[in-house]
């Protein structure tokens, strides 16, 4: 069975409060043509196959908002379970925290300093130097952390 396009099928996740923010992220990312399925897999260790899910989760308590149970099924209960349910694999990322340095100065001072430099570069119009304010360390997709941080304030 082909895995359906995450872009077309992801809207059903909007019905779960847990993944409400992910839905917004999905909308934002799909507009920019980032393959969300792989993003979810890499960042959240979630693998989804919606058509298989709807075939598996028949039964009371799983009827869908849109079609009243005839075609689709809500994922709320399945998503909340931290173990494998049928074809859904939902596993929180089990990873030791990176042991990085703690701020050596007051964090407000560090943030203010960054804003001041940002303003200076914008005012000078020297756009080539802007990247000097941004992180240069190699980080892979795994470290894209909470998608909501990129989407929400």
């Amino acid at each position: 069975m082909n895995t359906p396009s995450i872009r077309s099928e992801f809207g059903y996740l909007a019905f779960t409060s847990r993944f409400g923010s992910l839905y917004s992220a999905a909308v934002a990312y799909s507009r920019e043509y980032v393959p969300l399925a792989s993003l979810l897999k890499e960042v959240y260790q979630i693998e989804l196959n919606f058509r298989q899910v709807s075939a598996t989760l028949k039964g009371p308590g799983h009827s869908c908002f849109s079609c009243n149970g005839s075609q689709h099924y809500t994922f709320r209960r399945a998503m909340d379970l931290p173990f494998k349910v049928g074809p859904i694999v939902y596993q929180p990322v089990q990873q030791a925290a990176k042991s990085g340095p703690k701020p050596a100065r007051p964090i407000t001072e560090i943030a203010q300093e960054w804003v001041t430099h940002f303003n200076t570069i914008l005012e000078s119009g020297n756009s080539k130097t802007l990247s000097s304010l941004f992180q240069a360390n190699g980080m892979n997709l795994q470290s894209l952390f909470n998608l909501r941080d990129l989407v929400y304030i």
Binding site: P101, P103, R105, I107, W114, F134, A136, Q142, D149
Partner: protein
């Protein structure tokens, strides 16, 4: 190699952008300059926080900002991560900027919220209401199709922006599309 992100929603142009790397950031800086983005300052109403957003990231500093262009007011959030082993130098990993309001078209809220009457105006409220419903002398700028949750919400927001808006609904009453959705559904809309 520069791997910081800048995501912008409508504050530097009328588009959504996410850029990464030297070239992308350079282009975004040029857009920001062209848009007149300036007066970036920390948002005093929100604390600067120190947290670990994900295990792979480690310690980070998150702060909110406010800024302006000649056309818009915007807000944003950025995350700094350590750039060395000492914790002295911190660089931006993600920067998010978004349009908050258009200057001259601010949402009417708080002290500027419509009071429902004007001093010296003796026109009865019922007459004003009828005129509004019939859109007497008003040419709508926006037509909203469907008076469900989303339609009502966007119409209310447009109303607060003083943008003449016409909502059309195929059912007799506002909210009927939800009211009639399930037999057990109870709507709080009148």
């Amino acid at each position: 190699m520069c791997l910081g992100f800048w995501k912008d929603h409508l504050s530097t142009s009328w588009e959504f952008h996410t850029v990464q790397g030297h070239q992308g950031l350079e282009q975004m800086a040029q857009k920001a300059k062209k848009a007149g983005l300036a007066k970036v300052q920390l948002d005093a109403s929100k604390p600067v926080t120190n947290r670990i957003p994900a295990p792979a990231i480690g310690e980070s500093i998150m702060a909110s900002i406010l800024f302006e262009t000649p056309v818009v007011r915007g807000k944003g959030v950025f995350t700094l991560t350590s750039a060395d082993d000492t914790g002295i130098e911190w660089k931006c990993f993600t920067l998010y900027t978004v349009l908050y309001e258009l200057k001259g078209h601010e949402e009417r809220k708080g002290a500027t919220r419509p009071r429902g009457y004007e001093d010296g105006d003796r026109t009865p409220w019922s007459e004003k209401r009828r005129n509004a419903e019939e859109m007497q002398g008003i040419e709508p700028y926006v037509m909203v199709i469907g008076a469900g949750h989303a339609g009502c919400a966007i119409a209310a927001r447009l109303g607060m922006l003083d943008i003449p808006t016409l909502v059309i609904e195929r059912n007799p009453r506002v909210g009927d599309s939800w009211r009639k959705r399930y037999p057990s559904y109870i709507s709080l809309l009148s």
